[in-house]
């Protein structure tokens, strides 16, 4: 396995259910993501995109095949190992999934709090830095329900980046946003990830944002379809 690749997937298959209900959702998938690369994953719904994302994100046990993230083999890894690895993977969800009881700044700091060996003040400064980077310096102490959809998604991006991830996984980050805001959010995501040399794997249906990708991967019925990059 190549240690320098951020993500390396070989012959990955996955099943849901047991017995007669057992259904294969991924069929020997192989792919690579290099550091700093922005990869877009598209395909019809139910084709296994999200399952692939959760497997690469160390959120699920790998059943068959190899998944290497930052050179760590995930096949056969323990819960604790996966939890530690997740600290280096940023995640942005379809719903923003912000903590309702925390302000924008505190939400972002929940990300920064994962960084070891930083003082509270340094972590708070990190949170403020990232909120400024996503253009929300005026909304530090607002609660999520006082923010618009686009603002919430930007807070979520700031939270994911505040933990200084080397890999960012995004599941349809523009689904809940109108086209203009969606475009802004994706541009921001791409620019900030580039600056951090952070690889991005983004699942999307949205044809308008295809141009941000370095590479496009299409999926159908649990298989990757070779496309022109």
């Amino acid at each position: 396995m190549n240690e320098r690749l951020t993500v390396q997937v070989e012959g990955l298959s996955h099943w849901f259910g047991t017995g007669a209900m057992r259904r294969q959702v991924l069929q020997s998938i192989s792919m690579q993501i290099a550091p700093g690369e922005v990869v877009l994953l598209t395909g019809p719904s139910g084709c296994g995109k999200t399952t692939l994302l959760t497997l690469i994100g160390a959120l699920r046990k790998v059943q068959q095949g190899d998944v290497c993230v930052f050179g760590h083999q995930l096949h056969g890894s323990h819960r604790g190992q996966r939890q530690k690895l997740r600290r280096h993977i940023g995640m942005i969800f379809q719903g923003h999934n912000l903590l309702r009881c925390l302000t924008a700044e505190q939400n972002v700091q929940m990300g920064a709090d994962l960084l070891p060996e930083l003082s509270y003040r340094a972590r708070r400064d990190q949170a403020r830095y990232w909120l400024r980077a996503v253009g929300l310096d005026d909304h530090l102490s607002k609660l999520p329900h006082d923010l618009s959809g686009g603002q919430k998604q930007r807070v979520a991006i700031a939270r994911a980046l505040a933990a200084r991830p080397q890999l960012l996984l995004a599941d349809e980050p523009t689904a809940a946003l109108d086209s203009v805001t969606g475009r802004e959010v994706v541009d921001l995501l791409q620019r900030l990830a580039r600056e951090q040399a952070c690889a991005v794997l983004m699942v999307t249906h949205d044809p308008r944002i295809v141009d941000v990708a370095d590479r496009l991967v299409q999926m159908e019925d649990g298989r990757l379809i070779p496309t022109l990059g």
């Binding site: 699920r60 939890q83 997740r86 379809q94 999934n97 009881c101 505190q106 929940m110 990300g111």
Partner: protein, 390 residues
């Protein structure tokens, strides 16, 4: 993981979860506070009644107390021969003794003319009875017949004796069908068995209760030479005295009375059960609150797990919510307990007061209640699957 307090400082998630949902917090605190007050009241009544059973017992100037083995409690005293006290004097460590008669007599309220049972203690006015030094001077007036010292803290049903006496009026009434005059006031306090108390000389006592054999007493107070070991003297007196008398140390005498109320009556059980009910009600409320809190925030907890937070960290958050609830619910319960104790004291004259052991006990119970509920609510956290949030 990190060194130093400031290094380890995090967003106070547990506190924010509670404080940003003020309505839920208020409901939780009201429930905990209610449970706390219930426990304070029930345990307070229980301890107060046990303490009240020995208000008079505590006052005696005695190192050892002799009592008939047939005496079960202050409300059912039996007599024993006074000679036993004289025999006890033979022990080299015994310095002095006081024979005491103890019985309930009917006291007529001079205002309403209704009668009520009052505890009467008969003693020789020259003998020391209580540790209170003021009593000796007042006791002199008892040398005349038909004179009594009235306990001004007796319940008001006995009549406005203290008020009348302090106004300078001559207070006379009927005790056990005979005329007596109040020549002084003492301050003892009502006990569980006796609503009021009075002191009189043995001579008057025997006149009021002619059926009492002259050589019979209910209690014998024994004072020891300074430096004598009460336990050792008790043992040697038990060996030398016949079996028609029991020897107690002062503390055993108090415990014997308390133990009667604790074990031979259902008081202890009833009030402990009341406190247990408060505990259970509190558990249910806190569990409901914490469980629904965890359920409502399950996607957020799952998000934190996906970000790389440990399950233990999240359990710590729930545990801290439990601690916060316990502390915040306890403070108003403590304050309300103080207020209600004051109310009980003024209306029943029972010696109910906040003491450290009970305050600690109730806090521990509330803490156990909240932490137990938090532990149960944590099981819900296991359902937070980070793979499900995408």
């Amino acid at each position: 993981m990190t060194s130093g307090f400031w290094q380890g400082r995090r967003i106070p998630l547990a506190w924010l979860l509670l404080s940003r949902q003020p309505l839920r917090l208020m409901v939780a605190l009201a429930g905990i506070c209610f449970a706390g007050i219930l426990m304070f009241m029930q345990l307070g009544f229980r301890d107060g009644l046990f303490d009240a059973s020995v208000t008079v017992h505590r006052l005696f100037d005695a190192d050892l107390v002799l009592m008939s083995p047939r005496s079960m409690s202050s409300i059912s005293m039996s007599g024993f021969p006074r000679r036993r006290l004289v025999q006890a004097m033979a022990h080299p460590d015994v310095q002095g003794t006081t024979p005491v008669n103890w019985n309930f007599l009917l006291w007529r309220n001079p205002e309403t003319l209704k009668t009520r049972s009052i505890l009467a203690l008969g003693f020789e006015p020259i003998d020391p009875l209580f540790t209170d030094p003021e009593l000796a001077a007042k006791a002199k007036s008892l040398t005349s017949r038909g004179r009594v010292l009235f306990d001004k803290r007796s319940r008001t049903e006995f009549g406005p004796i203290a008020e009348w006496f302090e106004e300078g009026r001559i207070v006379e009434t009927e005790l056990a069908g005979k005329r007596v005059r109040v020549t002084g006031l003492v301050s003892l306090g009502p006990s569980f068995g006796a609503d009021g108390n009075l002191l009189t000389s043995r001579e008057t006592f025997l006149e009021l209760l002619p059926s009492t054999p002259p050589g019979s007493i209910e209690i014998g107070l024994v004072r020891l030479r300074p430096g004598a070991d009460p336990e050792a003297v008790t043992r040697s007196l038990k060996e030398s005295l016949p079996s028609d008398v029991q020897v107690f140390t002062r503390q055993d005498f108090i415990d014997f009375e308390k133990n009667y109320w604790r074990s031979s009556t259902s008081i202890g059980f009833i009030f402990s059960l009341g406190a247990a009910m408060g505990f259970v009600v509190g558990c249910v409320i806190v569990y409901q609150i914490l469980y629904s809190d965890v359920s409502d925030h399950l996607p957020e907890y799952a998000t934190l797990l996906a970000m790389g937070y440990r399950l233990n960290t999240l359990m710590g958050v729930v545990a801290r919510e439990g601690v916060f609830l316990a502390v915040m619910g306890y403070v108003p319960a403590y304050a309300a307990g103080q207020g209600l104790y004051a109310l009980v004291r003024s209306s029943t004259k029972l010696p109910v007061a906040m003491d450290l052991p009970r305050a600690t006990l109730v806090f521990s119970l509330i803490l156990v209640m909240c932490m137990g509920s938090a532990l149960m609510a944590m099981r819900r956290l296991v359902d937070a699957d980070p793979a499900e949030i995408f």
